[in-house]
């Protein structure tokens, strides 16, 4: 059995990082299950785990495990494989194996990680979708963590216009948050989902920062669209600083507590001020794709022109355009279908 095969076998047991590191340091190029069972060094390293592992160290268990993964369409990628992304080499405790669902080729494409608050304001929703859409359209793979808020928005927009990778904290059978299970399925089908854990492993508190380090390492650029002063985004940002990943932050209103994090990144010059997607794309060596212009009729353009950049409610549109409310209601829906405007929670309309 080759090194990588043996590593796959070890992934059954969710061993601690330290133990796997030690095992790999003494692992010969090839060994059989019998060699393993009789290896004293291994026994020393694994301690109390050894008995459990050696009792299952046989072809049958391993084959069963591999077919279990294959049934779920899961690819188990080890650090010895060619597809394993080099980007992870900069991580001190880089994952030795990754559970993948979807197109693993995406790992080595040009990626932008988009992260931010779990509860964005209407402004945050707007800019996240705007960046995710234009970056995905230009060919960048959008990486995020499948969390509520910015993560979910970034994934959804990217699915519409390009490719996306979700890095998740738990196993594939225990999606957190559960509300994102359908989103997870869609990404697994059209993009890629990766995890460091066996499918049946539940999320633990400590797995979120671990997930964040992969998000930070996988992106060639890290983009923070909206983040408060204290949030999980800070952890991702710190990892990105460690790895030398360029950080872009979208500036926000200085009075909004939800933009404190991004604004202070820009103020402290840790992050580059992201005004549009162009700078990020040139960093990646990609160029923006022009969106096809949509033909609007007179009333539609009247409505679009009455919507200020920060958005407004319907009453304001009624007042400015003097159109009837029934007319406005139906025009807004058709504009929304065309992707020109967007309805935000609270009934606020913004230009999409």
């Amino acid at each position: 059995m080759k090194k990588s095969e043996f590593l796959k076998f070890l992934s059954i047991f969710e061993l601690s990082y330290g133990k796997i590191t030690k095992i790999l340091s003494i692992l010969p190029e090839s060994l059989s299950f019998d060699d393993f069972v009789n290896n004293h060094q291994m026994k020393e390293i694994l301690g109390e785990d050894f008995e459990k592992i050696s009792s299952q160290a046989n072809e049958q268990t391993f084959d069963k495990y591999l077919s279990y993964l294959a049934n779920k369409n899961i690819t188990l990628l080890t650090c010895f494989d060619d597809d394993y992304p080099q980007k992870f080499d900069k991580i001190d405790d880089k994952p030795y194996y990754l559970f993948c669902m979807g197109d693993i080729k995406l790992l080595n494409k040009k990626c932008v990680s988009i992260v931010g608050t779990r509860l964005p304001t209407n402004y945050g929703i707007n800019v996240t979708e705007r960046f995710s859409k234009s970056l995905a359209k230009a060919g960048a793979v959008i990486v995020s963590g499948l969390a509520y808020g910015v993560d979910g928005l970034a994934h959804r927009k990217a699915l519409e216009y390009g490719k996306t990778i979700a890095v998740i904290a738990g196993g594939f059978d225990k999606i957190y948050p559960p509300e994102h299970t359908s989103l997870f399925k869609e990404i697994a089908e059209k993009g890629l989902v990766i995890s460091e854990h066996r499918p049946d492993v539940r999320v633990a508190k400590y797995s979120f920062p671990q997930r964040n380090r992969l998000v930070a390492a996988l992106g060639d650029v890290l983009l923070i669209t909206e983040a408060g002063a204290k949030s999980g985004t800070t952890i991702t940002k710190d990892f990105a600083l460690d790895y030398g990943t360029p950080i872009y932050a979208v500036p926000g209103n200085i009075t909004s507590s939800k933009s404190e994090g991004t604004n202070s990144l820009i103020a402290s010059m840790q992050g580059i001020c992201a005004l549009d997607e162009k700078a990020i794309l040139s960093e990646l060596g990609l160029s923006a794709k022009k969106s096809a212009s949509v033909q609007l009729n007179l009333q539609e353009s009247l409505i679009v022109s009455s919507i200020p950049p920060e958005g407004c409610d319907i009453d304001e549109i009624v007042e400015k355009t003097k159109l009837s409310i029934s007319n406005i209601n139906s025009l807004l829906t058709s504009l929304e279908i065309k992707g020109i405007i967007k309805k935000m929670p609270g009934g606020i309309i913004t230009q999409g």
Binding site: T121, Y148, G152, G311, N329, S330
Partner: protein
Amino acid sequence: MLSKIHSFGVQGIEGFKVDVEIDITNGLPHYEIVGLADTAIKESKERVRSAIKNSGYDYPIKRVTVNLAPADTKKEGPMYDLAIALGILCAEEKNKELEIDAAELKKFVILGELSLNGEVKAVKGVLPIIISARNLGLKNFVIPKENAVEASYVSGINVVPVSSLTEAVEYFAHKKQIDFVAARDYEVEKGSFKNALDFKYVKGQARAKRALEIAAAGGHNVLMIGPPGSGKSMLAKCFPSILPDMTFEEALEVTKIHSVAGELDYKKGIVASRPFRTPHHSATAVSLTGGGAHSKPGEISLAHNGVLYLDEMPEYPRHTLEMLRQPLEDGSITVARSALTVTYPANFTLIASMNPCPCGYYGSKDRECKCSPSQIHKYLAKMSGPILDRIDIHVEVDNVTFDDLRAETEEESSEKIKERVDKARQIQLERFKNASNYSNAKMSVPDTKKYCHLSSDCEELLKMAFENLKLSARAHDRILKVARTIADLEGEKEILPEHIAEAIGYRSLDRKYL
């Protein structure tokens, strides 16, 4: 001696005939009531005795047995007092000199509660009793004077209003003439909607007003979502003012329910404006559905032909909300208890309001929301799918700005909106004249297919909307029904793309909210 008097009881909102039989025999003084009487009836013993004595008549010092037939049906309430008292006076031979015409008495149905001094007090359920009795061919009634107005809306009957036991005795002894209650014509209460405000006082909120106009026109249920203080309750209170007037049949049905529940204003005698009920979220399930130990219509039945307004809907206990599922579908509620099963009508328009999140400010333009995403999810999850399924229109309401409040612009009055609503209802009456339902909201699946025919343009638009806006499948029929109503409001025969487009705008909770 034995005497027999006719009276009536109430079950659900129908009356049933009760024969009050009184037998007085020699023996130790004793008073016994048989025939599944409740406590209120059992206690009539003291009221009847005092009333008879204080009216100057003799109470028999003998063995008195009262039987309420049929003996196997439960009877409730004090409405039999007057019948029992008259029965005792007839049966006691000492009272011969009163000259009560027993044959005349037998032609009447007697209702009324007695007070100790012999006064006759109002009772619940007079209207349903009179209507049921009339259907049985009974024409003559003695009822408390207070209930006279209520009875006056039924034609073809003779109603004698009495205010005391003495009056009743003298009437039946032909010593006193009492005029029958004159029949009255039904008049819709105009301009004085109980609890209702006028839309002209609501500044801004164009979208919410439009949504309520559509709801009124098509009988759709509405959910308003908005931060605290955005005027959701105010909008809801204006809603009855644009509903079409109640027909006499509708009013009678509502009055029957209110009469049984003891909620009727005796001076008015009829509920002539659509009811608007706002049970608090601490309301128990039984108080909403009706039933209970003393079977009584619940809030949803009291809202029959009117509006049930549930403020802060997610605050209601889950199982209380789930109770609304059957009535929202069938327009009635059947309450089964061990003793009896009763069906109350409950055909109401549901207006519900809720905050977008526990703190109330998610998505608000001028305040920041302090809730975590999982809190918001939990909050929204309190509205179960089946309940949301029955609400056609979701509309977001945001705070009105100061400028809006001070604006001098004249807002449209309820009267004007009502004119449009009435027109749309007329179209529906025509459309459903051979069907049991009479509003677009209550269309069945085959009806929806039949009346909501879509042109290819509409089909295309709907398809695009489902793909681009990620609507859930359950939105489909709702959108068609609302679009039908919008087309009716515009006076269009066919549903046009703009109607579909507008209807799609009212499905915000079907989208990904977070």
